[in-house]
Subunit: 390 residues, 2 copies
């Protein structure tokens, strides 16, 4: 249990069928805060508000709703975001700037802010230290399951706690993790250190995943650290342990997001080795991970390596087709750009039947490496997204 | 009928079920030739061979097969491409360098070159001035119909003829048209002029279409001009008329390729106006055209403009969300970044039920414009590509 934090998730009435749609996280004391936000130039009102408010380095609460992204709603959108935060601030008796806001759902429809305001009393009644699971449910959109991880991490004889919650499902590509994600911890931290650690961890995790290549207007990752464990990030050993814990947690959450992506049946890691540079490796990994043809072949469990080579060739980096090796887990299917034969293909096809496997590509040009996680592109992805608003 | 050209398409045995898989175009006299080829760094053997042979500026014949891309087959791939051409050259009694080669189909499986060689006599027997329809059939892969256009174009009292054949269906994105396309004409031309006109026309047509965002390893557009009409491109009026005819034909072929894309039910033109530059406009058009979320919404006939705005925002160009207008044909759904309301949405949704419509976006920042053609992303696209090799 994360000392000094409480959370809740309720059905306020934004969504139909009694589904949870409003969540709250409260820190008993002011928490250091840091965030990373969407790189999309079109940013939803709550993102713009949070980007401003986070400058102070401190916050007390985060309110989040699903069912409506509060994006492209003009001035009214910003007014509504402010109203959501204000309702929480009044109840807590803190300045409204101490409350952050997230929204996720359909773009371009006015936020039902009265519905949210009228849900606030019930939301506060539901607050409990065990409320993070409900919170995780309340921010789901097309996610099929809530995503929450909690860990107690020991440093010498003491320990700190860290909880992470995420939602994903669609509009996911690198350039940062396209989703909502919240991390609460009871370590003590300066917001600047928190920002640095969060940015590094996001770059290794939430920014390395692909579902459909679209970037949302509402991406937000926030970390709140309230210091109640008595352990401080100013202490080097604590900081090292915390860094590992945060990275590990965000990588696991990132994998959970991809695995629960819209229509996803397979989680596939794309690993590039031997690129001329890490940057080149990243371009190659991302291009393969984003190829519709590669992803439909994953869905079809077809070891169609020609599509992988085709994607590598359009990644915008120099390449020698005679030095490319491609393996599915440990089964090498392509050696020096050539097919390893029917036996290897039978084995590689068997690997593709797993729900979680790696495609390892070595281009033998240098020492650059990169990896990312992607998924298959299924009939259900299309079904989900053709009917999303109906 | 294109004077001095003959064509044929037969079933040689590369594909099953008696489907045509081998095609030939022959010019009775040496023809000026120009080509544009895939920008994918991984190029199939026939592409590499043609890029070399086309330097001479002249050719007599083109042989093309479907069912196998002859790509990533190492040295053997190049040997087989040379053998295909040689078999034709021997039959014609011309140097083998005068024959060009194309292949399309699965990557990474050895070309059944003996099957092709043994089909050559039958292929020559089938040659006729009316054989272009058979040729168009013989290069189809997942295309559902052959794509061929023929026009007689008058210049004063004389006329020339122009025939275009294309195949597409998958692995289609700009950067050049990802397909095979052949144009035969009886004008007289220098290959350098031909190259210039072809490049310009491709940039307006085959390079402005999207199906799935993947770039093939085998893209080839060739134009052959044998001069038999007696009209010459060195004559300015002829050149002007020819330029228009070529552009018009390639735009129509490009639209046919998108319309017959894998699983496609809708052809959608994305038109950008008011961008800071043409380059910015092109980036925006391409990002919208390539967005899986936008394309699945087209399939679902859902005027989900939030996804269009989301795509604009990640196009890598500067943007003001308060000045964006979006229309579906002539129905304005978004004005100054805001939804025009339920009435407009009902009308826009009606437009989306058409099989062919335009999404017009004005960002009101400058005078830059661009357009491209895309399609919806359907359940059948996934089905086709999950099972492509089985």
């Amino acid at each position: 249990m994360c000392q000094g934090f409480q959370a809740a998730g309720i059905h306020a009435g934004i969504k139909k069928n009694n589904i949870k749609d409003l969540g709250l996280i409260v820190s008993d004391v002011p928490a250091a805060v840091a965030g990373v936000f969407t790189k999309n130039q079109i940013k939803a009102a709550p993102v713009l508000l949070d980007m401003e408010r986070i400058q102070s380095g401190t916050c007390r609460a985060v309110i989040a709703n699903s069912g409506n992204a509060n994006c492209c709603n003009g001035e009214r959108g910003m007014e509504d975001a402010v109203r959501m935060a204000k309702a929480v601030a009044e109840k807590l008796g803190v300045p409204e700037e101490m409350v952050l806001v997230s929204s996720t759902g359909v773009i371009g429809q006015p936020l039902p802010v009265e519905t949210i305001e009228s849900g606030i009393p019930q939301l506060f009644d539901a607050l409990t230290p065990d409320g993070f699971s409900d919170f995780a449910e309340s921010i789901m959109t097309t996610d099929t399951k809530p995503k929450k991880l909690s860990r107690t991490v020991e440093v010498g004889k003491k320990s700190f706690f860290i909880t992470g919650i995420a939602k994903g499902a669609g509009m996911i590509r690198p350039d940062m993790a396209t989703m909502l994600c919240y991390v609460c911890t009871d370590v003590e931290a300066d917001s600047s250190v928190l920002k640095e650690l969060l940015t590094d961890a996001v770059n290794l995790s939430l920014s390395r995943i692909h579902i459909d290549g679209d970037t949302s207007t509402n991406d937000t990752v926030l970390i709140l650290a309230n210091g109640m464990s008595g352990l401080s990030l100013n202490d080097a050993p604590v900081r090292d342990v915390f860094k590992d814990a945060l990275e590990g947690m965000l990588i696991e959450l990132a994998r959970m997001v991809v695995k629960d992506g819209e229509g996803v049946t397979k989680l596939v890691e794309i690993k590039i080795n031997g690129a001329a540079s890490d940057d080149d490796a990243e371009k190659m990994a991302d291009t393969v991970a984003h190829s519709s043809l590669v992803k439909t072949a994953f869905f079809g469990e077809d070891a169609n390596w020609g599509r992988i080579i085709g994607a590598l060739g359009r990644a915008g980096v120099s390449l020698n087709q005679d030095t490319i090796d491609i393996s599915f887990n440990d089964i090498m299917l392509v050696k020096n750009g050539l097919w390893c034969g029917a036996d290897a293909e039978v084995k590689a096809t068997k690997v593709m039947k797993l729900s979680d496997f790696a495609v390892k590509i070595d281009v033998h040009l240098g020492t650059g490496t990169a990896s990312c996680w992607t998924c298959d592109f299924s009939i259900d992805y299309v079904k989900i997204n053709a009917d999303y608003r109906s």
